[in-house]
């Protein structure tokens, strides 16, 4: 048995072992996303406070936290859908540019899956998945379509290729949205509460796709309330509250022996029902 047992003594020992909170704990792998000293305000509200986080290549990081903690905003700053004031974010060694073509180019390497799917409503499922490869990657239509059908099969919506998004269920739409991102062959995938807008019976089909993606070695940053997914698929859990990263730990440690009171409070509220 190499797996860490879940009993408290071991977890507590782990918790006391590292004295300083490992906020910027660099993973052993080569860094893919490096967030350094990022600050952001919405008017008076300080939504991101000195965020430092490094995500390694192939790592799956799940960001947890109460609503309003800034986790979605953090996710959206990584591809600059939200601008930030100070600090820097690099992706695969490249610093995020301010605007223009260079930013568009960098965004094409960063897949993003939204809470509300955001499939292009006037395009078919197949067109949704081929648009980026054709317009941004300059692939031929035939090549893009072949790849798209392959991806649609991978997420299990091949039969819907010629339908429009509104004709699909939420779970199907979200799986198409994942395929649309994957079609760009991204270096990292961001998930902004991907299952929060889904009917309960559709949550699993999306989580299954995400879990298999995690196993395939994709670098993923996932903002979610799905604790089961965090336990199962995450390499590290990042807990945020009030715009700060409060705790970074392995899922086993975080769920059994959270260090901070805010994390204990949060887990107490969600795990007891």
């Amino acid at each position: 048995m190499t797996e860490a047992p879940k009993d408290l003594p071991t977890a507590a020992a782990q918790a006391t072992e590292g004295d300083e909170p490992p906020l910027a704990a660099a993973p052993t792998k080569e860094p893919m996303v490096v967030i350094t000293g990022v600050n952001k305000h919405f008017g008076e509200l300080h939504v991101l406070r000195d965020i430092d986080l490094t995500v390694g290549r192939g790592e799956v990081v799940v960001v947890l936290g109460p609503s309003g903690s800034g986790k979605s905003t953090l996710c959206r700053t990584i591809n600059r859908l939200e601008p930030f004031e100070t600090g820097s974010i690099t992706i695969d060694g490249k610093t995020l540019p301010d605007e223009g073509k260079a930013l568009a180019q960098l965004r094409s390497d960063v897949g993003m899956v939204f809470q509300s799917f955001n499939l292009f409503a006037h395009k078919t499922i197949l067109e949704n998945v081929t648009l980026g490869p054709i317009k941004v990657r300059k692939k031929s239509k035939a090549e893009a379509e072949a790849k798209a059908r392959e991806l649609l099969e991978r997420v299990g919506v091949t039969a819907q290729a010629d339908k429009y998004p509104a004709q699909l269920s939420g779970g199907q739409q979200q799986r198409v949205a994942i395929a649309r991102s994957l079609a760009m062959e991204p270096k990292v995938m961001l998930f902004d509460e991907p299952t929060s807008a889904l009917d309960p019976e559709m949550v699993n089909e999306v989580l299954e796709v995400m879990t298999s993606l995690a196993k395939s070695g994709m670098t993923m940053i996932v903002v979610t309330h799905e604790m089961g997914f965090a336990r199962r698929a995450a390499d590290r859990v990042v807990f945020m509250a009030d715009g700060e990263i409060v705790e970074v730990a392995t899922p086993a440690t975080f769920f059994t022996a959270p260090r901070s009171n805010r994390a204990k409070d949060f887990l107490g509220k969600i795990l007891t029902h």
Partner: protein
């Protein structure tokens, strides 16, 4: 009535009305789209220029704009496209009508843009489309579909507004109507009905087609 058609070139005059309508429709659609892009672009300076254009042009009487095209540009500034006076007036009438209705096209399109959820633009940007590509591939196609009904209204108004061109001597149907009424006061009601019916024939299909298209092309969400 046959006599009226024999004496006066009624169909020709309606032809000119159609020419003015179609040309100005194309012109105002192009200019209006450009102004709408300026108004929704992230560049504040362009927003202001677009808003200024719409507010000035929309609130100026069309007659004033058309007359200025003649007296201001042709007579005063000597800006002529051709030596043929009648044709020159037609060209300037089309320019005036285009710039005037562009303000309304812009606002119709902007209302269409507002029907597109913000997430569509975010998704477009997140797959790496540039601002221009996001506009042409995602935002504008949906905005046009959402703006078909107000665009149809603008086109109907434009068709009828071509009658203002008579103010600078363009021989479209309302100019001919005045002439016919002057020389044939005995059939004034018939003349009036012919012209009115002509406009109904032109505009009614626009309304029917746009209503049909707006439901057929509607973006389902």
């Amino acid at each position: 009535m046959g006599e009226l058609f024999a004496t006066y070139n009624i169909l020709g005059a309606f032809g000119l009305t159609i020419l003015l309508t179609v040309s100005s429709a194309v012109g105002s659609l192009v200019i209006g789209t450009v102004v709408a892009i300026m108004r929704v672009s992230p560049v504040r300076f362009l927003n202001r220029v677009g808003a200024f254009y719409v507010n000035v042009v929309r609130n100026t009487p069309l007659t004033l704009i058309i007359v200025f095209c003649n007296i201001g540009f042709i007579v005063n500034l000597g800006m002529s496209f051709t030596d043929n006076i009648a044709r020159n007036n037609i060209i300037w009438a089309i320019i005036g009508l285009s710039f005037y209705h562009a303000a309304f096209v812009c606002e119709a399109l902007r209302s269409g843009v507002n029907t597109v959820p913000a997430g569509q633009a975010e998704a477009a940007r997140s797959i790496g489309l540039t601002f221009g590509q996001s506009l042409t591939e995602v935002l504008l196609p949906q905005a046009f579909r959402g703006a078909i009904t107000p665009l149809g209204n603008t086109l109907i108004a434009l068709t009828k507004n071509t009658t203002v061109a008579t103010a600078i001597g363009v021989a479209e149907i309302s100019g001919l109507m005045k002439e016919m009424m002057e020389f044939r006061p005995d059939v004034i009601v018939v003349i009036f009905l012919i012209v009115a019916l002509g406009f109904v024939i032109l505009t009614l299909p626009i309304g029917l087609v746009t209503t049909h298209l707006s439901s057929k092309l509607a973006v389902k969400r």
